[in-house]
Protein backbone atom coordinates (compact mmCIF):
# COMPACT_ATOMS: atom_id res chain seq x y z
CA UNK A 1 0.00 0.00 0.00
CA UNK A 2 1.29 3.47 -0.86
CA UNK A 3 0.10 7.06 -0.59
CA UNK A 4 0.95 9.52 -3.38
CA UNK A 5 0.04 13.17 -3.44
CA UNK A 6 0.40 16.42 -5.32
CA UNK A 7 -0.23 20.03 -4.23
CA UNK A 8 -0.94 22.73 -6.82
CA UNK A 9 -0.71 26.14 -5.24
CA UNK A 10 -3.26 28.83 -6.17
CA UNK A 11 -5.24 26.55 -8.45
CA UNK A 12 -8.99 26.76 -8.01
CA UNK A 13 -11.63 24.30 -9.12
CA UNK A 14 -15.30 24.41 -8.12
CA UNK A 15 -16.71 21.76 -5.80
CA UNK A 16 -18.89 19.97 -8.36
CA UNK A 17 -15.97 19.47 -10.76
CA UNK A 18 -13.78 18.20 -7.91
CA UNK A 19 -16.41 15.74 -6.67
CA UNK A 20 -16.95 14.34 -10.15
CA UNK A 21 -13.18 13.97 -10.69
CA UNK A 22 -12.79 12.30 -7.26
CA UNK A 23 -15.48 9.77 -8.17
CA UNK A 24 -13.78 8.99 -11.49
CA UNK A 25 -10.37 8.59 -9.81
CA UNK A 26 -11.87 6.20 -7.23
CA UNK A 27 -13.02 3.97 -10.11
CA UNK A 28 -9.44 3.59 -11.47
CA UNK A 29 -8.04 0.09 -10.94
CA UNK A 30 -5.77 -0.16 -7.92
CA UNK A 31 -7.12 3.01 -6.24
CA UNK A 32 -8.28 2.36 -2.67
CA UNK A 33 -8.88 5.93 -1.46
CA UNK A 34 -8.83 9.29 -3.21
CA UNK A 35 -9.22 12.94 -2.22
CA UNK A 36 -9.17 15.61 -4.94
CA UNK A 37 -10.15 18.93 -3.42
CA UNK A 38 -9.25 22.44 -2.34
CA UNK A 39 -7.27 22.78 0.88
CA UNK A 40 -10.35 23.61 2.95
CA UNK A 41 -10.78 22.61 6.60
CA UNK A 42 -13.31 19.99 5.52
CA UNK A 43 -10.89 18.36 3.06
CA UNK A 44 -8.01 18.49 5.57
CA UNK A 45 -10.30 16.69 8.05
CA UNK A 46 -11.17 14.11 5.40
CA UNK A 47 -7.47 13.46 4.71
CA UNK A 48 -6.86 12.98 8.44
CA UNK A 49 -9.90 10.76 8.87
CA UNK A 50 -8.84 8.56 5.96
CA UNK A 51 -5.27 8.31 7.26
CA UNK A 52 -3.90 10.09 4.18
CA UNK A 53 -2.56 13.20 5.94
CA UNK A 54 1.13 14.05 5.49
CA UNK A 55 3.19 16.84 7.03
CA UNK A 56 3.54 18.39 3.54
CA UNK A 57 -0.12 19.41 3.89
CA UNK A 58 0.59 21.63 6.95
CA UNK A 59 1.06 24.79 4.86
CA UNK A 60 -1.73 24.41 2.31
CA UNK A 61 -4.50 27.02 2.10
CA UNK A 62 -8.07 26.90 0.73
CA UNK A 63 -6.65 28.37 -2.49
CA UNK A 64 -4.44 25.29 -3.12
CA UNK A 65 -5.53 22.13 -4.88
CA UNK A 66 -4.68 18.78 -3.25
CA UNK A 67 -4.61 15.46 -5.05
CA UNK A 68 -4.03 12.44 -2.84
CA UNK A 69 -4.50 8.72 -3.50
CA UNK A 70 -3.92 5.50 -1.65
CA UNK A 71 -3.13 2.63 -4.00
CA UNK A 72 -1.89 -0.95 -3.89
CA UNK A 73 1.55 0.00 -5.26
CA UNK A 74 3.58 3.02 -6.36
CA UNK A 75 3.04 2.54 -10.09
CA UNK A 76 -0.76 2.64 -9.78
CA UNK A 77 -0.41 5.67 -7.46
CA UNK A 78 1.53 7.58 -10.12
CA UNK A 79 -0.90 6.45 -12.81
CA UNK A 80 -3.89 7.61 -10.72
CA UNK A 81 -2.35 11.07 -10.18
CA UNK A 82 -1.64 11.43 -13.92
CA UNK A 83 -5.24 10.35 -14.67
CA UNK A 84 -6.57 12.90 -12.15
CA UNK A 85 -4.46 15.63 -13.79
CA UNK A 86 -5.84 14.69 -17.20
CA UNK A 87 -9.43 14.76 -15.97
CA UNK A 88 -8.92 18.20 -14.42
CA UNK A 89 -7.22 19.54 -17.55
CA UNK A 90 -10.11 18.23 -19.65
CA UNK A 91 -12.60 20.05 -17.40
CA UNK A 92 -10.58 23.28 -17.65
CA UNK A 93 -10.52 23.00 -21.44
CA UNK A 94 -14.29 22.58 -21.69
CA UNK A 95 -14.65 25.63 -19.50
CA UNK A 96 -12.12 27.87 -21.16
CA UNK A 97 -12.48 26.53 -24.70
CA UNK A 98 -9.60 26.54 -27.11
CA UNK A 99 -9.86 30.19 -28.09
CA UNK A 100 -7.25 32.67 -26.98
CA UNK A 101 -9.93 34.96 -25.60
CA UNK A 102 -9.06 36.14 -22.09
CA UNK A 103 -11.12 34.55 -19.30
CA UNK A 104 -12.31 37.17 -16.79
CA UNK A 105 -11.50 36.65 -13.12
CA UNK A 106 -14.09 39.06 -11.70
CA UNK A 107 -17.66 40.20 -12.33
CA UNK A 108 -16.41 43.70 -13.13
CA UNK A 109 -14.12 42.38 -15.89
CA UNK A 110 -16.78 40.07 -17.31
CA UNK A 111 -19.40 42.84 -17.39
CA UNK A 112 -17.11 44.74 -19.75
CA UNK A 113 -17.03 41.70 -22.03
CA UNK A 114 -20.81 41.12 -22.01
CA UNK A 115 -22.58 44.41 -22.59
CA UNK A 116 -26.05 44.59 -21.04
CA UNK A 117 -25.54 41.60 -18.70
CA UNK A 118 -28.64 41.58 -16.48
CA UNK A 119 -28.18 38.44 -14.36
CA UNK A 120 -25.46 36.98 -12.16
CA UNK A 121 -25.69 33.26 -11.42
CA UNK A 122 -23.67 32.67 -8.25
CA UNK A 123 -22.57 29.21 -7.04
CA UNK A 124 -19.32 29.93 -5.15
CA UNK A 125 -18.80 28.57 -1.60
CA UNK A 126 -21.31 30.13 0.83
CA UNK A 127 -18.76 32.21 2.74
CA UNK A 128 -18.03 34.21 -0.44
CA UNK A 129 -21.53 34.25 -1.95
CA UNK A 130 -22.93 37.40 -0.30
CA UNK A 131 -19.94 39.42 -1.48
CA UNK A 132 -20.50 38.37 -5.10
CA UNK A 133 -24.25 39.04 -4.79
CA UNK A 134 -23.55 42.55 -3.43
CA UNK A 135 -21.24 43.32 -6.36
CA UNK A 136 -23.99 42.20 -8.75
CA UNK A 137 -26.74 44.26 -7.10
CA UNK A 138 -24.51 47.34 -6.96
CA UNK A 139 -24.00 47.01 -10.71
CA UNK A 140 -27.79 46.76 -11.23
CA UNK A 141 -27.88 43.08 -12.12
CA UNK A 142 -30.42 40.54 -10.82
CA UNK A 143 -29.02 37.66 -8.77
CA UNK A 144 -29.66 33.95 -8.75
CA UNK A 145 -27.93 32.66 -5.63
CA UNK A 146 -27.44 28.90 -5.93
CA UNK A 147 -24.92 28.87 -3.06
CA UNK A 148 -26.04 27.63 0.34
CA UNK A 149 -24.49 28.38 3.75
CA UNK A 150 -25.34 32.09 3.41
CA UNK A 151 -26.37 33.47 6.81
CA UNK A 152 -29.92 34.77 7.29
CA UNK A 153 -28.47 38.19 8.21
CA UNK A 154 -26.64 38.30 4.86
CA UNK A 155 -29.82 37.19 3.10
CA UNK A 156 -31.82 39.98 4.75
CA UNK A 157 -29.23 42.65 3.83
CA UNK A 158 -29.11 41.43 0.21
CA UNK A 159 -32.89 41.32 -0.13
CA UNK A 160 -33.35 44.78 1.43
CA UNK A 161 -30.88 46.19 -1.07
CA UNK A 162 -32.53 44.29 -3.93
CA UNK A 163 -36.06 45.42 -3.09
CA UNK A 164 -34.89 49.07 -2.94
CA UNK A 165 -33.50 48.64 -6.46
CA UNK A 166 -36.41 46.44 -7.65
CA UNK A 167 -33.96 43.66 -8.49
CA UNK A 168 -34.36 39.93 -7.88
CA UNK A 169 -32.32 37.97 -5.37
CA UNK A 170 -33.41 34.40 -6.06
CA UNK A 171 -31.97 32.41 -3.15
CA UNK A 172 -29.83 31.61 -1.28
CA UNK A 173 -29.92 27.86 -1.89
CA UNK A 174 -32.10 28.44 -4.96
CA UNK A 175 -31.66 25.65 -7.49
CA UNK A 176 -34.36 26.41 -10.02
CA UNK A 177 -35.67 29.35 -12.04
CA UNK A 178 -37.02 30.03 -15.52
CA UNK A 179 -36.72 33.64 -16.65
CA UNK A 180 -38.05 34.65 -20.09
CA UNK A 181 -38.10 30.99 -21.08
CA UNK A 182 -34.47 30.44 -20.06
CA UNK A 183 -33.92 27.60 -17.55
CA UNK A 184 -31.31 28.69 -14.98
CA UNK A 185 -29.26 26.09 -12.99
CA UNK A 186 -31.51 23.02 -12.38
CA UNK A 187 -34.59 23.64 -14.51
CA UNK A 188 -36.69 22.02 -17.20
CA UNK A 189 -37.40 23.09 -20.75
CA UNK A 190 -41.05 24.16 -20.69
CA UNK A 191 -43.04 26.15 -23.24
CA UNK A 192 -43.77 29.78 -22.58
CA UNK A 193 -47.29 30.61 -21.50
CA UNK A 194 -49.60 32.35 -19.11
CA UNK A 195 -48.76 30.89 -15.68
CA UNK A 196 -46.31 32.74 -13.43
CA UNK A 197 -44.78 31.02 -10.42
CA UNK A 198 -42.99 32.10 -7.26
CA UNK A 199 -41.53 29.24 -5.24
CA UNK A 200 -39.38 28.56 -2.20
CA UNK A 201 -38.82 24.96 -3.30
CA UNK A 202 -36.51 23.79 -6.10
CA UNK A 203 -37.87 20.36 -7.02
CA UNK A 204 -41.37 21.59 -6.21
CA UNK A 205 -40.94 24.24 -8.90
CA UNK A 206 -39.50 21.67 -11.34
CA UNK A 207 -42.42 19.30 -10.79
CA UNK A 208 -45.11 21.97 -11.16
CA UNK A 209 -43.59 23.66 -14.25
CA UNK A 210 -43.04 20.27 -15.94
CA UNK A 211 -46.62 19.16 -15.27
CA UNK A 212 -47.95 22.51 -16.57
CA UNK A 213 -46.03 21.85 -19.80
CA UNK A 214 -47.27 18.28 -20.10
CA UNK A 215 -50.87 19.44 -19.55
CA UNK A 216 -50.45 21.61 -22.65
CA UNK A 217 -49.98 24.95 -20.91
CA UNK A 218 -46.92 27.15 -20.40
CA UNK A 219 -44.95 29.30 -17.99
CA UNK A 220 -44.42 33.07 -18.19
CA UNK A 221 -41.81 33.23 -15.40
CA UNK A 222 -40.74 30.84 -12.62
CA UNK A 223 -39.07 32.78 -9.84
CA UNK A 224 -37.22 30.94 -7.07
CA UNK A 225 -36.87 32.78 -3.77
CA UNK A 226 -34.92 30.42 -1.46
CA UNK A 227 -36.38 28.31 1.37
CA UNK A 228 -36.23 31.02 4.05
CA UNK A 229 -37.97 33.85 2.19
CA UNK A 230 -41.28 33.48 4.07
CA UNK A 231 -39.60 33.21 7.47
CA UNK A 232 -40.32 35.95 10.00
CA UNK A 233 -36.89 37.50 9.56
CA UNK A 234 -36.96 37.77 5.75
CA UNK A 235 -40.69 38.59 5.72
CA UNK A 236 -41.40 37.32 2.19
CA UNK A 237 -39.51 40.19 0.57
CA UNK A 238 -38.71 38.36 -2.68
CA UNK A 239 -42.02 36.47 -2.80
CA UNK A 240 -43.86 39.80 -2.72
CA UNK A 241 -41.57 41.51 -5.24
CA UNK A 242 -41.91 38.51 -7.59
CA UNK A 243 -45.70 38.35 -7.17
CA UNK A 244 -45.98 42.09 -7.80
CA UNK A 245 -43.96 41.81 -11.02
CA UNK A 246 -46.13 38.89 -12.18
CA UNK A 247 -49.25 40.91 -11.33
CA UNK A 248 -47.99 43.68 -13.61
CA UNK A 249 -46.88 41.31 -16.35
CA UNK A 250 -49.41 41.27 -19.23
CA UNK A 251 -48.33 37.73 -20.23
CA UNK A 252 -49.23 36.25 -16.83
CA UNK A 253 -52.90 35.28 -16.38
CA UNK A 254 -52.61 33.17 -13.20
CA UNK A 255 -50.10 32.97 -10.34
CA UNK A 256 -48.85 30.00 -8.33
CA UNK A 257 -47.15 30.28 -4.96
CA UNK A 258 -45.29 27.29 -3.45
CA UNK A 259 -43.61 27.27 -0.05
CA UNK A 260 -43.44 25.69 3.36
CA UNK A 261 -46.10 27.37 5.57
CA UNK A 262 -44.95 30.97 6.24
CA UNK A 263 -44.24 32.41 9.67
CA UNK A 264 -47.44 33.81 11.23
CA UNK A 265 -46.47 37.49 11.01
CA UNK A 266 -45.24 37.06 7.44
CA UNK A 267 -48.47 35.30 6.45
CA UNK A 268 -50.69 38.23 7.54
CA UNK A 269 -48.58 40.69 5.59
CA UNK A 270 -48.38 38.36 2.59
CA UNK A 271 -52.16 37.86 2.39
CA UNK A 272 -52.74 41.62 2.73
CA UNK A 273 -50.42 42.34 -0.18
CA UNK A 274 -51.59 39.46 -2.37
CA UNK A 275 -55.21 40.64 -2.03
CA UNK A 276 -54.20 43.74 -4.00
CA UNK A 277 -53.51 41.53 -7.03
CA UNK A 278 -56.46 41.16 -9.41
CA UNK A 279 -55.36 37.88 -10.93
CA UNK A 280 -56.21 34.37 -9.69
CA UNK A 281 -53.61 32.95 -7.28
CA UNK A 282 -53.08 29.25 -6.50
CA UNK A 283 -51.31 28.66 -3.19
CA UNK A 284 -49.63 25.45 -2.07
CA UNK A 285 -48.24 25.87 1.43
CA UNK A 286 -46.87 22.37 1.94
CA UNK A 287 -48.63 20.70 4.87
CA UNK A 288 -50.89 23.68 5.67
CA UNK A 289 -54.68 23.56 6.01
CA UNK A 290 -56.21 24.30 2.56
CA UNK A 291 -59.37 25.73 4.17
CA UNK A 292 -57.36 28.59 5.70
CA UNK A 293 -56.05 29.50 2.24
CA UNK A 294 -59.57 29.32 0.78
CA UNK A 295 -60.92 31.51 3.57
CA UNK A 296 -58.25 34.09 2.78
CA UNK A 297 -59.63 34.28 -0.77
CA UNK A 298 -57.12 32.21 -2.72
CA UNK A 299 -57.25 28.84 -4.49
CA UNK A 300 -55.57 26.17 -2.34
CA UNK A 301 -53.69 23.27 -3.94
CA UNK A 302 -53.58 19.86 -2.26
CA UNK A 303 -50.25 18.75 -3.73
CA UNK A 304 -47.78 19.70 -6.48
CA UNK A 305 -49.73 18.13 -9.37
CA UNK A 306 -52.92 19.73 -8.06
CA UNK A 307 -51.16 23.14 -8.04
CA UNK A 308 -50.35 22.69 -11.74
CA UNK A 309 -53.88 21.50 -12.60
CA UNK A 310 -55.58 24.37 -10.72
CA UNK A 311 -53.28 26.94 -12.37
CA UNK A 312 -54.03 25.50 -15.83
CA UNK A 313 -57.78 25.55 -15.07
CA UNK A 314 -57.59 29.19 -14.05
CA UNK A 315 -55.42 30.21 -17.01
CA UNK A 316 -57.44 28.18 -19.54
CA UNK A 317 -60.85 28.72 -17.91
CA UNK A 318 -61.79 25.03 -18.37
CA UNK A 319 -61.61 21.84 -16.29
CA UNK A 320 -58.37 19.86 -16.61
CA UNK A 321 -57.88 16.13 -15.91
CA UNK A 322 -54.81 14.84 -14.09
CA UNK A 323 -51.97 13.29 -16.13
CA UNK A 324 -53.24 9.84 -15.09
CA UNK A 325 -56.77 9.18 -13.81
CA UNK A 326 -57.34 7.05 -10.70
CA UNK A 327 -58.74 4.25 -12.90
CA UNK A 328 -55.67 4.27 -15.16
CA UNK A 329 -53.43 4.09 -12.10
CA UNK A 330 -55.41 1.19 -10.58
CA UNK A 331 -55.33 -0.70 -13.92
CA UNK A 332 -51.58 -0.25 -14.27
CA UNK A 333 -50.77 -1.98 -10.98
CA UNK A 334 -53.75 -4.31 -10.74
CA UNK A 335 -52.80 -7.77 -9.46
CA UNK A 336 -49.22 -6.77 -8.63
CA UNK A 337 -47.79 -8.99 -5.88
CA UNK A 338 -44.98 -7.65 -3.71
CA UNK A 339 -42.22 -10.07 -2.61
CA UNK A 340 -41.74 -8.32 0.73
CA UNK A 341 -43.78 -6.14 3.08
CA UNK A 342 -41.80 -2.91 3.23
CA UNK A 343 -41.76 0.14 0.97
CA UNK A 344 -38.42 1.86 0.26
CA UNK A 345 -38.54 5.34 -1.32
CA UNK A 346 -35.16 6.54 -2.62
CA UNK A 347 -35.64 10.18 -3.58
CA UNK A 348 -33.23 12.77 -4.99
CA UNK A 349 -35.75 15.64 -4.76
CA UNK A 350 -36.43 16.90 -1.22
CA UNK A 351 -39.91 18.29 -1.86
CA UNK A 352 -40.94 15.11 -3.70
CA UNK A 353 -39.78 13.00 -0.72
CA UNK A 354 -41.72 15.26 1.63
CA UNK A 355 -44.82 15.04 -0.58
CA UNK A 356 -44.64 11.21 -0.68
CA UNK A 357 -44.57 11.00 3.11
CA UNK A 358 -47.51 13.39 3.50
CA UNK A 359 -49.65 11.60 0.90
CA UNK A 360 -48.94 8.14 2.33
CA UNK A 361 -49.18 9.01 5.97
CA UNK A 362 -52.90 8.28 6.38
CA UNK A 363 -52.83 4.94 4.54
CA UNK A 364 -49.48 3.29 5.31
CA UNK A 365 -48.26 2.72 8.88
CA UNK A 366 -44.74 2.97 10.28
CA UNK A 367 -43.20 5.48 7.88
CA UNK A 368 -39.58 6.33 8.65
CA UNK A 369 -37.28 8.90 7.04
CA UNK A 370 -34.07 10.89 7.43
CA UNK A 371 -36.31 13.95 6.90
CA UNK A 372 -39.55 12.83 8.61
CA UNK A 373 -42.73 14.87 8.29
CA UNK A 374 -44.81 15.31 11.45
CA UNK A 375 -45.84 11.89 12.72
CA UNK A 376 -43.23 9.87 10.79
CA UNK A 377 -40.25 8.45 12.68
CA UNK A 378 -36.64 9.58 12.30
CA UNK A 379 -34.30 6.84 11.09
CA UNK A 380 -31.61 5.92 13.66
CA UNK A 381 -29.10 5.23 10.91
CA UNK A 382 -29.74 7.06 7.64
CA UNK A 383 -27.69 4.47 5.76
CA UNK A 384 -29.96 1.62 6.87
CA UNK A 385 -33.67 1.56 6.03
CA UNK A 386 -36.24 0.40 8.54
CA UNK A 387 -39.94 -0.37 8.00
CA UNK A 388 -41.55 1.85 5.33
CA UNK A 389 -38.56 4.14 4.75
CA UNK A 390 -38.89 7.18 2.47
CA UNK A 391 -35.50 8.81 2.15
CA UNK A 392 -34.22 12.11 0.75
CA UNK A 393 -30.75 11.24 -0.57
CA UNK A 394 -30.22 14.90 -1.47
CA UNK A 395 -30.30 15.97 2.18
CA UNK A 396 -27.16 17.60 3.63
CA UNK A 397 -26.32 14.52 5.71
CA UNK A 398 -25.77 12.54 2.50
CA UNK A 399 -24.26 15.26 0.32
CA UNK A 400 -21.56 16.63 2.67
CA UNK A 401 -18.41 16.38 0.54
CA UNK A 402 -20.31 14.62 -2.25
CA UNK A 403 -22.19 15.70 -5.35
CA UNK A 404 -26.00 15.84 -5.19
CA UNK A 405 -27.80 12.64 -6.26
CA UNK A 406 -29.34 14.50 -9.22
CA UNK A 407 -25.79 14.86 -10.59
CA UNK A 408 -24.03 11.78 -9.22
CA UNK A 409 -26.04 8.53 -9.26
CA UNK A 410 -23.53 6.42 -7.27
CA UNK A 411 -25.00 6.80 -3.77
CA UNK A 412 -28.50 5.87 -4.96
CA UNK A 413 -27.16 2.98 -7.04
CA UNK A 414 -25.50 1.49 -3.95
CA UNK A 415 -28.69 1.97 -1.97
CA UNK A 416 -30.84 0.30 -4.66
CA UNK A 417 -28.58 -2.77 -4.56
CA UNK A 418 -28.76 -2.84 -0.74
CA UNK A 419 -32.56 -2.47 -0.65
CA UNK A 420 -33.02 -5.20 -3.26
CA UNK A 421 -30.93 -7.56 -1.16
CA UNK A 422 -33.16 -6.98 1.89
CA UNK A 423 -35.59 -9.93 1.94
CA UNK A 424 -38.33 -7.72 3.36
CA UNK A 425 -38.26 -5.05 0.61
CA UNK A 426 -41.43 -5.32 -1.46
CA UNK A 427 -41.48 -2.06 -3.42
CA UNK A 428 -38.85 0.56 -4.29
CA UNK A 429 -39.74 4.13 -5.38
CA UNK A 430 -37.45 6.36 -7.43
CA UNK A 431 -37.67 9.91 -8.77
CA UNK A 432 -35.84 10.80 -11.99
CA UNK A 433 -35.40 14.57 -12.25
CA UNK A 434 -34.59 15.73 -15.79
CA UNK A 435 -33.64 19.14 -17.13
CA UNK A 436 -30.52 21.26 -17.31
CA UNK A 437 -28.13 20.76 -14.40
CA UNK A 438 -29.21 17.14 -13.84
CA UNK A 439 -27.37 13.97 -14.92
CA UNK A 440 -27.75 13.23 -18.65
CA UNK A 441 -28.91 9.63 -18.17
CA UNK A 442 -30.23 9.06 -14.66
CA UNK A 443 -32.78 6.47 -15.89
CA UNK A 444 -29.97 4.47 -17.54
CA UNK A 445 -27.86 4.63 -14.36
CA UNK A 446 -30.78 3.50 -12.19
CA UNK A 447 -31.62 0.71 -14.67
CA UNK A 448 -28.07 -0.66 -14.53
CA UNK A 449 -28.16 -0.68 -10.71
CA UNK A 450 -31.51 -2.52 -10.76
CA UNK A 451 -30.17 -5.16 -13.17
CA UNK A 452 -27.00 -5.78 -11.13
CA UNK A 453 -28.97 -5.66 -7.84
CA UNK A 454 -31.29 -8.38 -9.13
CA UNK A 455 -28.39 -10.57 -10.27
CA UNK A 456 -26.69 -10.25 -6.92
CA UNK A 457 -29.77 -10.69 -4.70
CA UNK A 458 -31.57 -13.22 -6.94
CA UNK A 459 -34.82 -11.50 -6.10
CA UNK A 460 -36.75 -8.60 -7.59
CA UNK A 461 -38.94 -6.22 -5.60
CA UNK A 462 -41.46 -4.17 -7.63
CA UNK A 463 -40.01 -0.82 -8.72
CA UNK A 464 -41.96 2.37 -9.40
CA UNK A 465 -40.42 5.52 -10.83
CA UNK A 466 -41.72 9.02 -11.44
CA UNK A 467 -40.08 11.23 -14.04
CA UNK A 468 -40.04 14.98 -13.45
CA UNK A 469 -39.38 16.65 -16.78
CA UNK A 470 -40.56 17.17 -20.34
CA UNK A 471 -40.07 15.83 -23.85
CA UNK A 472 -38.06 18.99 -24.63
CA UNK A 473 -35.52 18.41 -21.83
CA UNK A 474 -32.00 17.47 -22.97
CA UNK A 475 -32.57 13.93 -21.61
CA UNK A 476 -36.00 13.59 -23.38
CA UNK A 477 -38.81 12.29 -21.14
CA UNK A 478 -39.92 9.40 -23.41
CA UNK A 479 -36.37 8.07 -23.89
CA UNK A 480 -35.77 8.01 -20.13
CA UNK A 481 -39.14 6.34 -19.54
CA UNK A 482 -38.33 3.67 -22.15
CA UNK A 483 -35.05 2.73 -20.45
CA UNK A 484 -36.91 1.99 -17.24
CA UNK A 485 -39.95 0.31 -18.78
CA UNK A 486 -37.72 -2.05 -20.76
CA UNK A 487 -36.51 -3.61 -17.52
CA UNK A 488 -39.98 -3.80 -15.98
CA UNK A 489 -40.09 -0.58 -13.94
CA UNK A 490 -43.56 0.99 -13.63
CA UNK A 491 -43.18 4.62 -14.77
CA UNK A 492 -45.51 7.40 -13.62
CA UNK A 493 -45.89 10.96 -14.99
CA UNK A 494 -45.99 12.63 -11.55
CA UNK A 495 -45.04 11.93 -7.96
CA UNK A 496 -48.72 12.11 -6.98
CA UNK A 497 -49.74 9.43 -9.52
CA UNK A 498 -46.89 7.19 -8.31
CA UNK A 499 -48.02 7.56 -4.70
CA UNK A 500 -51.63 6.79 -5.66
CA UNK A 501 -50.32 3.58 -7.24
CA UNK A 502 -48.49 2.73 -3.99
CA UNK A 503 -51.75 3.17 -2.09
CA UNK A 504 -53.57 0.96 -4.60
CA UNK A 505 -50.99 -1.83 -4.26
CA UNK A 506 -50.88 -1.69 -0.45
CA UNK A 507 -54.68 -1.84 -0.22
CA UNK A 508 -54.93 -4.88 -2.54
Amino acid sequence: MTIRHQIRQNTYFDSVTLMLVTNQVKKIEGVELAVVGMGTDYNIDSLKRLGLYKHEFDAITPADLVLCVQTADEASGDAALIAAEKLLTAKKNIKGGTSREAIPVSQEASAKMLAGANFTLISVPGAHAAREATISLNAGRHVMLFSDNVTIEEELALKEKAVAKELLVMGPDCGTAIINGVPLAFANVVRRGEIGLVAASGTGLQEVTSIIHRLGFGVSQAIGVGGRDLSEKIGGRMTLLGAQALANDPQTKALVLISKPPAEKTLEHLYRELKQIYKPIVIYFIGADPDEIRKAGFTPALNLEDAAIKACELAGKKPISPLMTDDQIADKVSGLQLPGKWLRGLYSGGTLCDEAQRLLFDSIPEITSNTPVKGAAKLDDIFKSEKNAIIDLGDDEFTRGKAHPMIDPSLRQERIVAEMADQETGLILLDIVLGYGSHMDMAGEMASAIVSGEKRARRRPAIFATICGTEDDPQVFSLQAKKLEEIGVFVFPSNVSMIKAVKAVFSQ
Binding site: K95, G116, S136, P183, A245
Partner: protein, 67 residues
Amino acid sequence: MIQLNDLFNQPVKVINVGIPSFADDLKKQGVPVIHVEWRPPAGGNKKIAALLERIEHSQEVFHTSKG
Protein backbone atom coordinates in the same frame (compact mmCIF):
# COMPACT_ATOMS: atom_id res chain seq x y z
CA MET B 1 -45.21 48.78 -13.43
CA ILE B 2 -41.99 48.25 -11.50
CA GLN B 3 -38.44 48.16 -12.79
CA LEU B 4 -38.34 44.40 -12.41
CA ASN B 5 -40.88 44.14 -15.24
CA ASP B 6 -38.28 45.56 -17.66
CA LEU B 7 -36.37 42.30 -17.22
CA PHE B 8 -39.29 40.37 -18.72
CA ASN B 9 -38.91 42.31 -21.99
CA GLN B 10 -35.15 41.89 -22.34
CA PRO B 11 -33.00 38.98 -23.44
CA VAL B 12 -31.41 37.26 -20.42
CA LYS B 13 -27.63 37.83 -20.38
CA VAL B 14 -25.78 35.99 -17.65
CA ILE B 15 -22.52 36.35 -15.76
CA ASN B 16 -21.77 32.94 -14.23
CA VAL B 17 -19.69 32.89 -11.06
CA GLY B 18 -18.93 29.40 -9.74
CA ILE B 19 -19.93 26.05 -11.26
CA PRO B 20 -18.82 26.10 -14.93
CA SER B 21 -21.45 23.62 -16.17
CA PHE B 22 -24.18 26.21 -15.53
CA ALA B 23 -22.48 28.44 -18.12
CA ASP B 24 -22.05 25.49 -20.53
CA ASP B 25 -25.79 24.72 -20.29
CA LEU B 26 -26.70 28.32 -21.11
CA LYS B 27 -24.23 28.40 -24.02
CA LYS B 28 -25.86 25.27 -25.47
CA GLN B 29 -29.19 27.13 -25.49
CA GLY B 30 -27.70 30.14 -27.24
CA VAL B 31 -28.05 32.37 -24.16
CA PRO B 32 -25.32 35.05 -23.95
CA VAL B 33 -23.20 34.04 -20.96
CA ILE B 34 -19.73 34.73 -19.67
CA HIS B 35 -18.02 32.52 -17.12
CA VAL B 36 -15.90 34.13 -14.42
CA GLU B 37 -12.74 32.22 -13.49
CA TRP B 38 -13.54 32.78 -9.80
CA ARG B 39 -10.97 32.30 -7.05
CA PRO B 40 -11.33 32.89 -3.32
CA PRO B 41 -10.46 36.55 -2.58
CA ALA B 42 -6.93 37.18 -1.27
CA GLY B 43 -5.86 33.69 -2.31
CA GLY B 44 -7.99 32.17 0.45
CA ASN B 45 -6.17 34.06 3.21
CA LYS B 46 -9.03 34.76 5.61
CA LYS B 47 -7.35 37.70 7.37
CA ILE B 48 -6.55 39.60 4.18
CA ALA B 49 -9.96 38.75 2.70
CA ALA B 50 -11.68 40.21 5.79
CA LEU B 51 -9.59 43.39 5.49
CA LEU B 52 -10.46 43.68 1.79
CA GLU B 53 -14.14 43.27 2.59
CA ARG B 54 -13.95 46.05 5.19
CA ILE B 55 -12.33 48.36 2.65
CA GLU B 56 -14.97 47.51 0.03
CA HIS B 57 -17.76 48.06 2.56
CA SER B 58 -16.42 51.47 3.65
CA GLN B 59 -16.11 52.49 -0.01
CA GLU B 60 -19.71 51.47 -0.58
CA VAL B 61 -20.90 53.44 2.46
CA PHE B 62 -18.89 56.44 1.21
CA HIS B 63 -20.45 56.27 -2.28
CA THR B 64 -23.97 55.77 -0.88
CA SER B 65 -23.64 58.73 1.48
CA LYS B 66 -22.42 60.89 -1.41
CA GLY B 67 -25.65 59.85 -3.15
